[in-house]
């Protein structure tokens, strides 16, 4: 039983690590703001679920698991909201979601 749990948790952790990494590469390499945001926010959520889930399996039924569940819950609430607010603010400020390169109008102004 313990071995099975270990293997599942190992798989979850590795998959989580992979997603996190892919998100990082996407946030760096994607051509414009909205695609970068897509890469970062989606993998943020999946990565958090997988990594924290993997740790939860290791922790077993303790107070730590409840804390991990709370962390996961709050991350699942706040992280997409922050992404939404960010995209919304960028839209209002006039950064257009165009294909290809980002418009160079609003460099840090």
């Amino acid at each position: 039983m313990q071995a099975v749990l270990d293997i599942i948790s190992w798989l979850l952790l590795t998959a989580g690590g992979a997603f996190v990494l892919v998100g990082g590469i996407g946030a760096l390499r994607m051509p414009n703001l909205y695609t970068r945001m897509h890469a970062a926010s989606v993998t943020d959520t999946v990565g958090a679920i997988l990594v924290l889930g993997g740790i939860m399996l290791q922790a077993g039924l303790t107070l730590a698991t409840i804390k991990l569940a709370a962390i996961l819950l709050f991350l699942l609430i706040t992280s997409p909201t922050a992404s939404y607010a960010l995209a919304n603010a960028a839209m209002i400020a006039g950064v257009k979601p165009e294909a290809g390169r980002a418009p160079d109008t609003e460099h840090d102004s």
């Binding site: 709050f74 609430i77 706040t78 909201t81 939404y84 607010a85 919304n88 209002i92 840090d108």
Partner: protein, 329 residues
């Protein structure tokens, strides 16, 4: 392996710091400062300082960004001029860096248990804490009981800084600045009319408050204490102010209440100390507060931490309101 992680994080830390100083856009600097705070908190954790990391988390993640942004909203967003005498300053700084680097070779080895810092008073604290105070968190024991004088001083420094900000920013406005009148355009576009962040923000506020109270009263058993809790609770109220607006926050917690928090926290700390004298001990000796010395210590530590928490909350919120009342950002 942990040392390697630490080295990696420290390298990122240096890059962040250089980028923050080098950027002429002050927003970018402030945002990089936020990243800097996250990195240094992770580093503190790797160096076994859980309490310090929690403090950095509570202060650096929200409050310091909000304060810097508040100041930027009232001043300018960009540096207007390039740095004068740049090469001269760089040369001086480079020379000074070499001197400090040379000095590091005489430092005790990293992690050496025989270094002078480790053998002076720390072993005594670690050995005596279970016996004299009996709380699991040695940091709290040292902070609140063994070195209560230091902490009293720090609380009064925080208090004084808060008073100073109130004096500076509640002065009547100079001729240059006038309070921008509230107009429909601005309030229509702000966060207050953006439903999703508003709902989520309001949902989070009670949880942050609850977590703040947990950190306050669980400080004897795990990482936490008055300083961290004060910063967390202040952060919760600031979040409320961001999503619901200044006026509603001031309706809930008026300025007078914040002043009362500030003063009562510092007074509570002082009074606990004086109570020690009246009960036949020394100033800030909690052992005499109850029949059993250890119960007295526990009581004293809880009261002191409560005082610290009240003052820190009051001061940070007063500072925030002082900046926000100058102009809405």
């Amino acid at each position: 392996m942990t040392v390697l992680f630490s080295v990696f994080l420290l390298t990122l830390l240096v890059i962040t710091a250089i980028a923050a100083v080098q950027s002429r856009n002050l927003f970018v600097s402030v945002m990089l400062l936020g990243i800097f705070s996250l990195l240094i908190a992770a580093n503190f954790l790797l160096l076994d300082a859980a309490d310090v990391a929690l403090t950095e988390a509570a202060v650096g993640a929200g409050i310091s960004t909000v304060l810097f942004l508040g100041a930027l909203a009232l001043t300018f967003e960009r540096e207007h001029r390039p740095t004068p005498h740049r090469w001269l300053s760089l040369a001086v700084v480079f020379a000074a860096t070499l001197v400090v680097l040379y000095a590091t070779f005489d430092k005790p080895k990293f992690g050496d248990p025989g270094a002078p810092v480790q053998v002076h008073v720390a072993p005594w604290y670690i050995e005596k804490t279970p016996e004299v105070i009996d709380v699991p968190n040695i940091v709290t024991a040292v902070l609140a009981s063994f070195r209560g004088y230091d902490t009293l001083g720090e609380v009064f420094v925080v208090f004084t800084a808060g008073i100073g900000v109130l004096f500076l920013l509640s002065a009547s406005h100079g001729h240059a600045a006038q309070r921008r009148p509230d107009n429909g355009d601005e309030s229509k576009i702000g966060l207050r009319n953006d439903l999703i962040p508003r709902v989520v923000g309001r949902l989070l506020v009670p949880f942050i408050l609850l977590f703040g109270l947990y950190v306050q009263f669980h400080g004897d058993y795990g990482p936490g204490g008055g300083f961290q809790a004060g910063a967390l609770i202040a952060a919760a109220v600031i979040l409320f102010a961001l999503v619901e607006g200044e006026e509603r926050t001031l309706e809930a917690i008026p300025r007078g209440a914040l002043l009362a928090l500030m003063v009562s926290g510092a007074l509570l700390y002082g009074l606990v100390g004086v109570a020690g004298i009246f009960l036949g001990g020394e100033f800030l000796n909690y052992s005499v507060l109850a029949d059993d010395p250890i119960a007295g210590q526990h009581l004293g530590i809880i009261l002191i931490e409560a005082g610290v928490g009240l003052t820190v909350t009051g001061v940070l919120l007063s500072i925030f309101h002082a900046f926000a009342a100058r102009d809405r950002f």
